[in-house]
């Protein structure tokens, strides 16, 4: 894992699908809570049960959300790539990750400080509400996709 510094984070945030439609002021505010990070392939990004205090906006690469199975090990459920958001447990009590996440390829992300972001969203609804709606969309999309996977739609029987 390598930390990158002094990158034009605000510009990168504006280029990410998650911030589409957000005001410049709100993007600048998000940038004040953001940092950049890269991962090599096969690096763990999140571990279930650990404190959830950040959120990742994926710029490049592929991250697999996994669930741990005692005999099968990490079972991948879904992969997320460019333009997607990884992690919303920082937003919901008890602020613990519910799944693992592993990189499949070299991955570049924007990291948002979940604790600061949550506090800012709670303190300022004009900033917080549009963001909460976006994170809600992320959750709804994940639930919808998981349901489609569950029904096993390509099974002929």
């Amino acid at each position: 894992m390598e930390q990158e510094q002094e990158q034009p984070i605000e510009r990168m945030l504006r280029g990410h699908d998650f911030t589409e439609g957000l005001s410049d002021e709100h993007v600048a505010r998000l940038a004040s809570m953001a940092s950049l990070q890269t991962f090599h392939a096969d690096e763990r990004v999140l571990k279930a049960g650990e404190r959830a205090d950040r959120c990742y906006l994926i710029q490049e690469g592929q991250i697999a959300i996994e669930i741990y199975h005692p005999t099968r090990g990490g079972v991948p459920i879904q992969t997320l790539g460019e333009g997607k958001v990884l992690g919303w447990s920082w937003f919901v009590k008890p602020y613990r990750w519910t799944f693992d996440a592993m990189t499949y390829t070299f991955t570049r992300v924007i990291v948002l400080d979940g604790v600061r972001l949550r506090e800012a969203m709670e303190a300022d609804p004009e900033f917080g509400y549009p963001l909460a709606m976006r994170f809600m969309e992320v959750c709804a999309e994940r639930v919808s996709h998981s349901r489609l996977q569950m029904i096993d739609m390509f099974d002929p029987h």
């Binding site: 991948p76 489609l148 390509f154 002929p156």
Partner: protein, 281 residues
């Protein structure tokens, strides 16, 4: 007595030339007119189907999966799930079957001229779209970006795998694949095919979409396409119902006011969107 080719209910004898297993339960039959002196199907359009008759067992409607430019060799890809398709799966090169066809409405190719094209499919749904893909490649200069989004249940169930790899290597089209479930050995995308739609390289304002797969997949695909800004009028789907006569006489494949065999199987989405809750007869 000579038999007229256009006799619609009379199967024409065809011989199995080759059987290729694509996955554990899906196979492609290569068929040629028996006797070799003509009397077989001379042309078809992408998306059309034939009625394949296993003598003494029954008939099944199966789409052509080969190139319309080479109609002398008919390819049909299907999954061994019912009594007829299981009987087809047990055929060997040299054996005879009967064929009636080609039937049905084809994928509209001319309507795509000058537009981006997105093909969204899953599982066995790629088979009825392969003739269209061949046609688009042959006439590549007529179209904008071509994107193929393909979903499979598992990596082992990816249909036409070698050919998909060839399409992926082309510089003039994008091919994205995802699977619903996989172990860590699979390093591709994992998730339903609709997850590929938001970032695919097509301009929804000037695109046409061809969709084929289970109805539930097509329903959520349309939802994702609409979210992306694609008008319903430019989405085409291939429907599947229990077809018997292939001519719109028997009514087995009736879908509201439509007969899938005659009015379809390819429909503009606006024609069938409200009919998807109607169960098979």
């Amino acid at each position: 007595m000579a038999v007229a080719y256009h006799e619609p209910m009379l199967p024409l004898p065809h011989r199995v030339r080759r059987m290729t297993w694509e996955t554990d339960d899906t196979f492609t039959m290569e068929l040629v007119a028996a006797g070799g002196g003509g009397g077989g199907i001379t042309s078809f359009a992408p998306g059309q189907f034939n009625m394949l008759y296993v003598f003494g067992v029954g008939e099944a409607a199966i789409s052509m999966s080969g190139s319309p430019s080479n109609p002398d060799t008919l390819l049909h890809t299907t999954r061994a799930v019912g009594s007829v398709t299981k009987a087809l799966a047990n055929l060997h090169p040299g054996q005879l079957i009967g064929i009636r066809g080609p039937y049905g409405v084809s994928w509209p190719v001319d309507e795509a001229e000058g537009r981006d094209i997105v093909i969204i499919t899953g599982g066995i749904g790629l088979a009825p779209l392969r003739p269209l893909i061949y046609t688009l490649i042959e006439q590549r200069e007529r179209f904008g970006n071509i994107t193929i989004l393909f979903g499979a249940r598992t990596p082992d169930e990816i249909l036409f795998r070698d050919e998909i790899e060839q399409w992926r290597r082309r510089f003039d089209m994008d091919v994205l694949i995802t699977v619903d479930r996989a172990s860590r050995d699979w390093r591709g995308r994992l998730g339903v095919v609709t997850t590929l739609i938001p970032q695919s390289p097509f301009d929804p304002k000037n695109s046409i979409a061809y969709v084929c797969g289970p109805e539930v997949m097509m329903y959520f695909t349309l939802e994702a396409l609409e979210k992306r800004g694609m008008p319903r009028e430019r989405v085409f789907v291939s429907m599947e119902r229990n077809m018997k006569c292939g001519l719109g006489f028997c009514g087995h494949c009736q879908l509201g006011p439509k007969f899938v065999c005659k009015d379809g199987p390819v429909f503009r989405w606006t024609e069938v969107a409200s009919l998807l809750d109607i169960r098979e007869i």
